[in-house]
């Protein structure tokens, strides 16, 4: 591993050569940035990962069962396990999806589960990302380049090969395909994750489709070729958010959507990966109920831990949150990407008062969590090894089977005082090694 550390600059140059970038908008201008890579990997022991794997499969299976239930029978609400206030007013719940049962009953084909490891050695789930989770391409290409830079490192360490993500994703696409070609649907070159869209299209052998390339004709979706032939599409790995997916069903001002796509989807004539409406299951408020969901649908005890979470919606929790405000992190359920997260102890007296009033008035809008004292990870800052906060996004893929990709995206903050690891806020990434024995 020492060799990899010495080759940090060379590996980052290779990443630049292969265009491993992400886009951000500043002052309404698009900028592309390299994603800083730290060569010291996160290493997860074989046995430890096996346990994680079981917990992740259990969690994602339950979330898929929940989505099927919510858009059909809503039995979990009728049985009083989850209050209806957390379902129907959630912006993630899409009434347009009511009654739709997707191929293989799978809604969340690709789940990005964000975890942190506490200093107590326990893994905690921070978030479930079931809409369009991104990030798998980065450790996949970084591994390829690290193996090129230092083959001996990988000869001397028994690391699971993570370069199979493309074939795993392809299998999922094939499993749910309704008959036709597979496409990766991107909003375009100026999307933050465009590198990933194009890279995954290449690695899955799919067509990369832009908004004008796809059209609904009759009951089917087609890809328009330059010579006038239309190819039926059987599965879309769409990287366009629900709001913009179909202007006839969602935002009518969307210029990047496919008119009438939802009608084709409702008729079962195309698979959407991931399904629209998944936002109801990765709502920060619903997160609180996932352990109960596992018990309810699977009759099992949850293997993975949630971070201790309080819902101000419940009076008892609200009282606790207001009394222990300084020790908690408050999250706005409507925000994502590290935004809308405040630490109680970092607010001024006035800000605290304002936030407490908001919690009173809009209790459904917030959740509060204990600040997990999670393990720091060593990163190279210039030539020096320094400790920084890091999380892990693990990818769980569901088709005919639910499988966990034996790697993950480890994101770290470069700011010593920050817990926010998002790339859009200046963070970097590491490879994640799963030891094979």
């Amino acid at each position: 591993m020492e060799k990899l550390v010495l080759l940090k600059d060379e590996i980052n140059q290779l990443l630049a050569r292969y265009g491993v970038k992400f886009g951000i908008y500043k002052n309404n201008e698009f900028h592309e940035q390299l994603f800083p890579f730290d060569p010291i990997p996160r290493v997860i022991e074989h046995e430890e990962f096996k346990e994680l794997e079981k917990g992740l499969i259990q969690r994602v299976d339950a979330l898929n069962r929940f989505l099927l239930d919510i858009y059909t029978e809503q039995q979990i609400v009728k049985d009083g396990v989850i209050p209806e206030e957390f379902i129907f007013v959630s912006p993630g719940f899409l009434s347009e999806c009511q009654g739709i049962v997707p191929p293989q009953n799978i809604f969340a084909h690709i789940a990005g589960i964000d975890l942190v490891k506490g200093k107590d050695g326990i893994w905690y789930v921070l978030e479930d990302n079931l809409r369009v989770p991104s990030g798998a391409s980065y450790p996949m290409i970084a591994r390829n380049l690290c193996r090129k830079a230092s083959p001996n490192t990988f000869r001397e360490n028994n690391v699971e090969d993570n370069r199979n993500y493309g074939s795993m994703l392809r299998t999922v696409m094939d499993d749910v395909n309704t008959g036709g070609i597979n496409v990766v649907f991107t909003p375009g070159r100026y999307n933050a994750a465009f590198f990933e869209h194009s890279y995954l299209a290449e690695k899955t052998g799919s067509i990369l489709a832009f908004p004008n390339d796809l059209e609904v004709n009759g009951d089917y979706l087609y890809y328009k070729t330059y010579n006038g032939v239309k190819k039926k599409v059987g599965a879309i790995y769409r990287r366009v958010s629900d709001d913009f997916l179909d202007p006839m069903a969602f935002r009518e001002d969307s210029l990047i959507g496919i008119p009438h796509l939802m009608e084709v989807y409702r008729k079962g004539n195309v698979a959407l990966i991931n399904s629209p409406g998944n936002g109801i299951a990765d709502d920060k408020g619903i997160y609180y109920f996932v352990p109960e969901m596992i018990r309810y649908y699977l009759g099992e005890e949850p293997i993975l831990h949630n971070a201790p979470t309080y819902l101000p919606f419940f009076e008892k929790d609200r009282r606790y949150v207001l009394e222990n405000f300084e020790n908690l992190v408050i999250k706005d359920v409507a925000e994502a990407g590290g935004y809308g997260v405040v630490f109680g102890n970092q607010l001024s007296k006035e800000e605290k008062q304002q936030m407490k009033e908001k919690i009173h008035l809009e209790s459904r809008r917030f959740i509060a969590q204990e600040v997990i004292d999670f393990q720091d990870m060593g990163i190279l800052d210039d030539q020096f090894l320094v400790d920084r906060k890091a999380d892990l996004r693990v990818f769980v893929l569901s088709g005919k089977e639910t499988k966990v990709w034996k790697s993950g995206l480890t994101r770290f903050t470069r700011n010593p005082d920050s817990f926010v690891v998002n790339s859009s806020q200046g963070g970097g990434f590491k490879d994640t090694w799963i030891l094979s024995q």
Binding site: Y18, G19, Y199, E202, Y226
Partner: protein
């Protein structure tokens, strides 16, 4: 036939054109810079030869802006940016390995801006473009895609040679290569315009300006320039 959209076909065609434009321009720029050692005002002739506006206030201004000014639509960097813009949306078609040479060329040109050995740096840009073309031959299985890139290249070279008033002998090779590519039938083209261009470039009295205009009408309008 491969599954390719109209827009993708446009990108493939214009990728061929812009990479060729950068390549031929740099070669000619080397010659121009050589002439400017003895004759600094040669840049005026250079602009006239290329039929680009002489928006430069002096030889020094030309040296500063012609290669590296992103705001100048005729600069080498602007043309390479357009090649890159067409390539970056084709990763699934070209492959990451092929695309990496476009990244290298662009990074090299941007980094050469303040270099004291800019012509040597530009030589590396040429090397990367040649490697990029070699990769398109080596890594792309689809003959259709390879052919369209090459048709774009040959047409652009012919167009530039006409602007530069090259001899009939110079014109023959890109013309025949263009015809060979178009005859494969992967691009809609105007046969009459191609014939007219052929008669022109093979005649003893080439009408250069007519050649430039006709060369721009050979490929059908749907392959419009998207940059």
């Amino acid at each position: 036939m491969d599954i390719i959209s109209v827009e993708e076909m446009n990108h493939i065609y214009w990728l061929g054109r812009y990479t060729e434009r950068v390549y031929t321009t740099i070669l000619y720029y080397f010659k121009g810079r050589d002439r400017m050692i003895e004759d600094p005002e040669f840049y005026i002739t250079y602009c006239r030869d290329f039929t680009i506006p002489n928006c430069y206030t002096s030889a020094a201004d030309f040296l500063l802006k012609y290669a590296f000014d992103e705001e100048n639509p005729d600069s080498i960097l602007s043309n390479l940016n357009r090649a890159y813009d067409n390539a970056i949306v084709l990763r699934h078609t070209l492959g990451t390995e092929t695309l990496s040479y476009m990244e290298l060329a662009l990074n090299q040109l941007r980094n050469a801006k303040n270099s004291e050995i800019e012509l040597l740096d530009l030589q590396k840009v040429l090397d990367y473009i040649l490697a990029f073309w070699a990769c398109t031959d080596d890594y792309i299985d689809s003959e259709q895609i390879r052919s369209v890139i090459k048709a774009g290249r040959h047409l652009e070279r012919l167009n530039l040679y006409l602007r530069l008033r090259k001899s009939k002998e110079c014109m023959m090779k890109p013309f025949h290569m263009l015809v060979a590519r178009l005859r494969k039938g992967y691009l809609d083209y105007d046969k009459d315009a191609l014939d007219r261009l052929g008669m022109n470039v093979t005649s003893s009295q080439i009408d250069y300006w007519d050649g430039v205009k006709v060369s721009e009408t050979i490929i059908k309008e749907k392959y419009h320039c998207i940059n």
